[in-house]
C-alpha cells in the first residue's frame, strides 16, 4: 500500500481514538433510542421481536448520521483536505481510505454492541445472526454513500440537518432489504437473496462512490 495513504489511515485512526467522546456519543444515542421503543411501544416480548430488526436498523441509521460529518469536517476546517487535493495523490483513493477508517471506528463498535441490542429486543439466535450479517454488509454502504453527501455539505455552515434530508431517502432501500432479511430469518426462511442484494449494492457503491466523493469534495472546495 502507498505509504502516504497508509499515513492518512493511521492519522485518522489516531485522531478518532483521541476524540473518544465523539466515538462514544453516537453509540450511546443508539442505545438510548433502542431503549425508548420497549418503553414507548410495548414491552411485550412478541412485539419487541416483531419490531426489533427495524428498530435496530433505524437507530443505526440515525446514529450514523450524527457521526457522519466527522468524515471530512475537521479536515476541511484545518485545510488538510485542500492539501490532499493539491498533493497529486489520487483523491478517490484518499476518500476510500478515509471511508474505511470511518467505518472501522464508527460501525465496528456498533457491531460489537449489537448482541446487547438483540437481547434488549428479544431477538432469537437466528434473527441475531441475520442481523449481524446485514449490519456487516450494510453499514459500509452507509459510510460510502454518506461520504458523498458529507463531501457536498462540508462547506456549509449548517449542513447537519440537510445531511439527514439528503441521506435518509437514499438509505430506505437498504433498510427494506436488511429488515426483510431478519424477518425471513425469524420465520426460518432462507435470507441469502436479501443479503445478495445488499452485497450487490455494496459492490456497486464501492466501485462508484469513491469517484463521486472525490468529485463532491472538489465541488465543495470550488
Amino acid at each position: 500500500m502507498n505509504p502516504l495513504l497508509l499515513g492518512i489511515f493511521k492519522r485518522d485512526m489516531q485522531i478518532a481514538f483521541q476524540q473518544k467522546a465523539e466515538l462514544v456519543q453516537p453509540l450511546m444515542f443508539l442505545l438510548m433510542v433502542v431503549t425508548l421503543f420497549p418503553l414507548g411501544v410495548s414491552p411485550s416480548p412478541e412485539t419487541l421481536q416483531r419490531i426489533g430488526p427495524g428498530v435496530i436498523w433505524i437507530a443505526a441509521i440515525l446514529s450514523s448520521l450524527l457521526g457522519m460529518e466527522r468524515l471530512f469536517r475537521d479536515d476541511f476546517i484545518d485545510g488538510s483536505l485542500e492539501q490532499y487535493t493539491l498533493s497529486g495523490m489520487s483523491l478517490p483513493a484518499v476518500a476510500t481510505v478515509k471511508v474505511l477508517a470511518h467505518w472501522l471506528v464508527s460501525f465496528v463498535p456498533l457491531l460489537i454492541l449489537s448482541p446487547l441490542l438483540a437481547m434488549f429486543l428479544n431477538l432469537s439466535m437466528d434473527m441475531f445472526i441475520a442481523l449481524m450479517l446485514t449490519l456487516l454488509i450494510g453499514t459500509p454502504l452507509l459510510s460510502l454513500i454518506g461520504a458523498i453527501a458529507v463531501g457536498l455539505t462540508v462547506g456549509l455552515a449548517r449542513g447537519g440537518l440537510l445531511l439527514a434530508l439528503l441521506l435518509i431517502p437514499v438509505f430506505i432501500p437498504l433498510l427494506i432489504f436488511a429488515t426483510s432479511a431478519v424477518d425471513s430469518a425469524a420465520l426460518q426462511l432462507p435470507y441469502h437473496p436479501q443479503l445478495a442484494i445488499i452485497g450487490a449494492m455494496l459492490l456497486l457503491a464501492a466501485a462508484a462512490a469513491p469517484f463521486a466523493i472525490a468529485y463532491s469534495l472538489k465541488v465543495s472546495q470550488n
Binding site: 457536498l152 455539505t153 431517502p169 437514499v170 432501500p173 465541488v219 470550488n222
Partner: protein, 249 residues
C-alpha cells in the same frame, strides 16, 4: 453530431431559445390538455368494474410517468453539466426540480384520492407507492441542497451529484410492480405490443400524457428564463433586456 447543441451552452442563446419555444409549448400544452381531459373525463367509455372513478388515470398516469421522466431529464442535465461544464445545463436541472416535485405530489395525491374508494385506504405501504414517495423526498433533497449554497455555480454542481445518486430509485419505481407482489396494478400502456387497455380509453390518455409533457416544458422554460436572468444580472445583454422591457411598459 451534437454540434447544434453547443451554442446553447451560452446563457444568452439558451434564453432566446426559451423565448422562441415558450408560446409553442403553451399552445400545445393547453390544446392537448383540453382535448385529453375533456375526451377522457367526458367521452371515454366507463370502466366495467370501476365505473367513472377510473377516469382519474387521465391525471394520475401522466403525472406519475412524467414525475419519473422529469427526474431522468434532471439527471441527464446534471451529467451534461458535469461532462461539458455547461452552466445552462445545471440551470435547466434546477428549473425542472420543483416542477417534477409537484408532478410527484399530484401523482401521489390523485392515487390517494382513487385509493380511498377502490382499495378502502388513502395510503398503503406498497412498493410502488413507497418508491414514489422516496422520489418526492429525493426532489426535496435536491432542491434543499441547491438552496443551501450561496454560490449558485457550486450549488448546481452539488445538487447535480445528488440528483445522479438518486437515479437508482427510478428503475426501482418502474419495476416495483413486477419485483414485488403489489396492490398497485401492473404496467398497462407501456406494453406497446399488446396494451391491456381499450383503444378508446388509451387515446385520450396518450393525448393527456403529451399535454402534461408540453406543460412541464412550458413551465420549465419560464423558470429557466428567470433563473438565467437572476444569475446573469451583471451581463450587458440582460441589462439591455431589462431596459427594453421597462421602456415598453
Amino acid at each position: 453530431m451534437w454540434k447544434w447543441l453547443h451554442p446553447y451552452a451560452k446563457t444568452e442563446n439558451a434564453y432566446q431559445l426559451c423565448v422562441t419555444l415558450q408560446p409553442w409549448l403553451w399552445v400545445s400544452a393547453l390544446l392537448c390538455l383540453a382535448v385529453g381531459t375533456v375526451w377522457g373525463l367526458a367521452f371515454a367509455p366507463q370502466d366495467y368494474q370501476q365505473g367513472d372513478s377510473f377516469r382519474i388515470i387521465y391525471i394520475h398516469v401522466p403525472s406519475a410517468m412524467l414525475s419519473m421522466g422529469t427526474y431522468v431529464a434532471m439527471a441527464i442535465a446534471a451529467l451534461v453539466g458535469m461532462v461539458w461544464q455547461w452552466r445552462t445545463a445545471y440551470m435547466s436541472m434546477i428549473a425542472m426540480a420543483p416542477v417534477g416535485a409537484v408532478m410527484t405530489f399530484v401523482a401521489l395525491f390523485t392515487g390517494a384520492a382513487w385509493g380511498k374508494p377502490m382499495w378502502g385506504a388513502w395510503w398503503v405501504w406498497d412498493a410502488r407507492l413507497t418508491s414514489e414517495l422516496i422520489l418526492l423526498f429525493l426532489y426535496i433533497g435536491v432542491i434543499a441542497l441547491y438552496g443551501a449554497f450561496e454560490d449558485k455555480q457550486q450549488a448546481g454542481k452539488a445538487a447535480g451529484v445528488m440528483a445522479l445518486v438518486g437515479v437508482v430509485n427510478i428503475p426501482i419505481i418502474h419495476y416495483s410492480v413486477e419485483w414485488w407482489n403489489t396492490l398497485h396494478q401492473g404496467a398497462t400502456i407501456s406494453k406497446f405490443d399488446q396494451p391491456s387497455i381499450a383503444p378508446e380509453m388509451l387515446w385520450p390518455l396518450l393525448v393527456s400524457l403529451l399535454g402534461f409533457a408540453f406543460f412541464i416544458g412550458a413551465v420549465t422554460t419560464i423558470r429557466l428564463r428567470s433563473e438565467i436572468v437572476r444569475r446573469e444580472m451583471h451581463r450587458p445583454w440582460v441589462q439591455k433586456l431589462a431596459q427594453a422591457t421597462s421602456e415598453n411598459s
